[in-house]
Assembly symmetry: C2
């Protein structure tokens, strides 16, 4: 391993805590590696890119992030192949997206070179935390928070960009049952739904808890105006298979432009599976469920990759998706296709793999 950087101050941890971690029993997003990356925005510039031991921040209780939610984040993963080489999956997409999220939240954009230099340097330092084996990965959380002090509602002039890393195992969501939103909503036209803005997530917890109390794990959000059109889940875009065609909602200012979503669309097209990206009425899906044409619903997102839905509830009625053999499920195919690219098993005809050397 060769860590050279002229730009980043590196302050290594004295001892690794890796031996204290039970890698066979990881809870998603709870354990963090030895180091973290940070970079501050002060006087109009991103300065002092630093890697230091993972640990607490000292931050004012009046920092604007606490009061005005001026915060954005990303979620991406690093994978190790059987040779021990590390790969990212389409990281440029995440880089672009954090900046488009930042723009909407009046946060200064982050420079591409520092993003990639910080990220790859950090990954090299903590490379032992990326375990080989299909399903294992290192979840990467870049984020930006407003650190300027002030309890007046205006954009901060100081920010902190950080990257923290959390080892992850295959994320088995089990049978996901979802509720289609009829009353609550996730985002408005002209709002911030398309951004990975922190507040979008906290706002979903209460209605998601209500779904959980009824035995469902997630909510599929609908348009806030009429609750007629299907949009996306809390941290996943959603696909519907009717007969042999795939349907997913178009992205908009209400819907996150997911990397997994666009990868599934590309893989489907390559495989000759008909894909329609268009507004999807709840009533179409209910009709297709009633007629038996609705074969599959699945979520697509970095954390779980592909997450099959086994049932959905709408207007007090629960619709169960038909049993299908694993082999005939699109969900199985796309998960396999994606993971074979991610773990450097299959040919990377789209150029999605990004080696970390």
């Amino acid at each position: 391993m060769n860590i050279t950087t002229n730009n980043i101050t590196i302050n290594k941890s004295e001892a690794s805590k890796i031996n204290q971690i039970d890698f066979d029993n990881l809870v998603f997003g709870n354990v963090f590696t030895d180091h973290m990356f940070e970079c501050d925005y002060i006087d109009g510039a991103w300065v002092n890119p630093t890697i230091r031991p993972y640990g607490n921040l000292s931050i004012s209780p009046a920092a604007k992030v606490f009061h005005y939610g001026q915060a954005v984040f990303e979620g991406m993963k690093a994978f190790k192949d059987s040779n021990g080489d590390t790969f990212l999956f389409r990281p440029k997409e995440n880089f672009n997206r954090i900046n488009s999220s930042s723009k909407r939240m009046a946060i200064p954009e982050f420079p591409e070179d520092i993003f990639f230099e910080g990220l790859t340097t950090l990954l090299k330092l903590d490379k032992d935390w990326i375990k080989p084996g299909i399903g294992n990965s290192l979840y990467i959380r870049p984020f930006v928070i407003a650190t300027q002090v002030g309890v007046s509602a205006s954009p901060a002039n100081q920010y902190k960009f950080m990257i923290i890393l959390s080892p992850a195992q295959a994320y088995y969501t089990g049978d996901v049952k979802v509720v289609i939103a009829e009353q609550y909503s996730r985002s408005a036209d002209g709002g911030v739904g398309y951004a990975k803005a922190a507040g979008n997530y906290g706002a979903q917890f209460y209605p998601t808890n209500l779904a959980k109390e009824k035995g469902f794990q997630q909510v599929i959000w609908t348009d806030a105006n009429e609750h007629k059109y299907l949009e996306e889940a809390g941290t996943m875009n959603v696909f519907f298979r009717i007969k042999d065609s795939l349907f997913t909602a178009p992205t908009s200012d209400r819907i996150l432009d997911g990397v997994t979503r666009k990868s599934v669309i590309a893989l489907a097209k390559k495989a000759g599976i008909p894909v329609e990206v268009r507004p999807i009425l709840v009533s179409e899906i209910v009709d297709a469920a009633n007629s038996g044409d609705l074969k599959e619903i699945f979520g697509a997102g970095t954390a779980a990759v592909i997450s099959p839905v086994s049932a959905f509830s709408y207007k007090e009625k629960t619709y169960t998706l038909p049993e299908m053999t694993k082999e005939t499920k699109y969900a199985t195919k796309f998960k396999k296709d994606l993971m074979e690219i991610q773990y450097n098993i299959a040919e990377d005809s789209f150029g999605w793999r990004y080696p970390v050397n």
Copy 2:
């Protein structure tokens, strides 16, 4: 002064920094008093209410507040009368509202007794920071943040409730010119707009910056569906005076139920001013501006009390409000009425004053 509490641990600051503060040149929300109150939610209970010297928090970079915006706040003020006695204005409203905000953000509600005991104990300790004189006040910022570590999108099981205090002078906003929103929006039906959830504020910064670039200070938000109805401003509810009647939008799940708003409505009714609380079309206001019937627009909120609007822009046209003598303005009347109650000058026929002894 008599500070007794059995429940709150008090750790006093060694020396006050009050002499370093230029009370004649305060920037709103930038200077904080000597102490702060905090209380943690751990294992299902609010524990360890503590007052300690104002200072930084040590907090994990993986705390959920940074990633999922699980955070709510309040804004209220303390006033000193000419005898040196301190009063709050309708604090029970703020207490109730922080809990209704918390509920929507899946944050556990805070107990009323600890809220008031923490608040009044803190105010007594830092009472020298409340300067007498009309216009001077102490801005009070209670807030709750999710402190549990974890980069998975689900509600935290640990929180911190805090109160910080910032001395404030009369808040002269000058001539406020506003833009009526045509494209961006603040909140959705079924969303969190009625809550003082942190993310609602950061989400407004970008469209407000666009307004500022055109020479306007604030945005008056409209409904996200059609941008046809007037809702509220960034941190103020809004009133319109057509001829001699007042109009303001009803509260809803998109609009904050402001304490100043409801106080203005009560004062107007008492004074025999006709008030209509009903959906207000943008087109009505434009028509009234064109016919000369639109006399005033003003914002109502804790920070500025009443903030007169001098002009608004809609569909690329700017409408200037008529010049009126100060004496004939409703804005002047309500500001005076409110402040005379707040500063213990007028009789408190509504029972809004809350003495801090």
